[in-house]
Amino acid sequence: MGQSREGSSLFTIFKYVTLVLALFVVLFPLYSIVTGAFKTQVEYYQSGLALPANLLNFDNFQKVFDIGKLGLGFRNIAIILVIAVAGNIMFGTMVAYALGRFDFKLKKGIMGMYLVAQVIPMVTTQVATFSVIKYFSLYNTMGAPIILYLGADVLQIVIYLQFVNSIPRDLDESAMMEGASLFKIYRSIIFPLLGPATATLVILKTISIYNDFYTPYLYMPSQKLKVVSTAIYAFVGPNAAQLNVISAGILIIFIPTVAIFLSMQKFIFAGVTSGAVK
């Protein structure tokens, strides 16, 4: 008995040691970015890992916005996000309502279609998607990423369907007794009750669109259409900025998703977990 307790307290120590190591590995690169962002160029090269001399030195941030076109990047990605996420949620809830509440011939086919589409790796088919985008004259417009982000994915449908199935059909039926149309049932009963799922999906979708590099890089090479991903990418090219200025840029770009994550962890963890259960 005593021996096993000793063993378990040793294991507890081991657990904490490994956790602290993991925290260090996760936080160390972030530490160097955060401190680097506030250092002057000379300071960056000389002070090593020390804290910056002046914690209120915002020069690097100013430079990043001036040379990096980050302001433009944030503006463009905001426009794309609002339209794409709103459309995406609208279509996602509509598909889930249609598939969850009605039986019809093509139901299984449509479900299967979403499942198989998930399996097709997006990166590989871009060569052909490119010609579709060109055909619709969407190349070098914000329409290209928007339309590519618009479609519902299987994870979204699965999460929504779980919710739709948990809404009692009695609600629909009593609304029908009162003469509500099916559209009204979708709009006033189903859509609002999907709220928690929508919150999760809005967050996950926003993070994934904000982080996407490939789509804007391929379809919007124009300087005026820079988004955050492509703006920061310009920092590493031949005209690379100084390391301290780059650090400031990285820090700014990290902030929005970190803020979303920290304030809404519950929704994010819920979404990630239900994705795996499928």
């Binding site: 160390f28 097709i120 790796p121 590989t124 088919t125 060569v127 963890f269």
Partner: protein, 292 residues
């Protein structure tokens, strides 16, 4: 809509709600996949619409030129990194599902890298790996390990490990949270019964935990494999695939957009698609067996 009978409304809803989403999926997932097959049999340059049908020549080129498949060697680093990462994420998921002070805080911090902007993350590591001023070499110097200092991105033998590490760093927390979800769905009485039978912690893990999360584990392994096959962002942003870090997708993208050979690039994409599908089919087969 009130004036229509519910039967008519049902048709209107089904038609109205499903047409656009289905068309989107057909246009941007299925049509590209099918036309990819067609382009792969042509010599299309990607400019204009002139193309000649050349049969299986593109495929012959892929399978006879060693440098195309050679790129898969670099994908292997991401696969190995992914496997190590699955082990770590399972370990941390297990200890962060049990009773532990500060559990939620640890979960949040370990998950944090996943939400960070992907391109910015790679550039951050470019700073960390910098030979002279990078924080990694500075740290090693500060703790007296100068001999461990390396040219993390310059050394040909090291660079792919350095890149694969970024992928591990980014996705460990995500996999951990997925595992935590799976672990939490295991009923407690299984463990209680195990305790009554006198099972040790390791035995409980081996005979209760592992079998219960087998499906998620398999899914994770297949995602690791397909993710490694599709590795692109990290080596592309970091080095544009230079210094022998090109992965299969980088080769494909370069073939299409840099060398203007869409036909060959399409054939490469089809080969990759087939590999991914093959692994998924294998996994589904295994899954069905496991489900019995």
């Amino acid at each position: 809509m009130h004036q229509f009978s519910y039967k008519t409304q049902r048709y209107l809803i089904l038609f109205g709600f499903l047409t656009i989403p289905v068309l989107l999926s057909l246009t941007f997932s299925y049509y590209p996949a099918v036309s990819l097959l067609y382009y792969s049999l042509t010599d299309w340059s990607g400019l204009g619409w002139d193309m000649n049908f050349i049969g299986l020549d593109n495929y012959k080129e892929i399978f006879t030129k060693p440098e195309v498949f050679g790129a898969l060697k670099n994908n292997a680093y991401y696969f190995i990194g992914g496997l190590i990462q699955v082990v770590f994420s399972l370990y941390f998921a297990v200890i962060l599902t049990g009773k532990l002070r500060g559990r939620n805080g640890f979960r949040v911090i370990l998950f944090l890298p996943y939400v960070l902007h992907s391109v910015a993350t790679v550039i951050m590591f470019k700073n960390v790996y910098h030979v002279e001023y990078g924080s990694l070499n500075t740290l090693l110097g500060a703790i007296g390990l100068e001999s461990w200092q390396q040219s993390w991105l310059g050394d040909k033998h090291l660079v792919n490990f350095s890149l694969a590490f970024i992928s591990m760093w980014k996705y460990m927390g995500l996999n951990m949270v997925i595992f935590i979800g799976a672990l939490q769905s295991i009923p407690d009485d299984l463990y209680e019964a195990g305790s009554i039978d006198g099972a040790s912690g390791w035995q409980k893990f081996r005979f209760i935990t592992l079998p219960s999360i087998r499906k998620v584990l398999e899914l994770m392994l297949i995602l690791t494999l397909t993710g490694a096959l599709e590795a692109f962002d990290i080596p592309y942003v970091m080095l544009l695939g230079a210094n022998d870090t090109s992965t299969f997708v980088i080769k494909t993208v370069d073939t299409a957009f840099k060398y203007q050979n869409f036909g060959l690039a399409s054939a490469m994409a089809v080969v990759l698609l087939m590999m991914v599908l093959l692994f998924i089919v294998i996994q589904r087969k295994f899954l069905f067996k496991g489900g019995e």
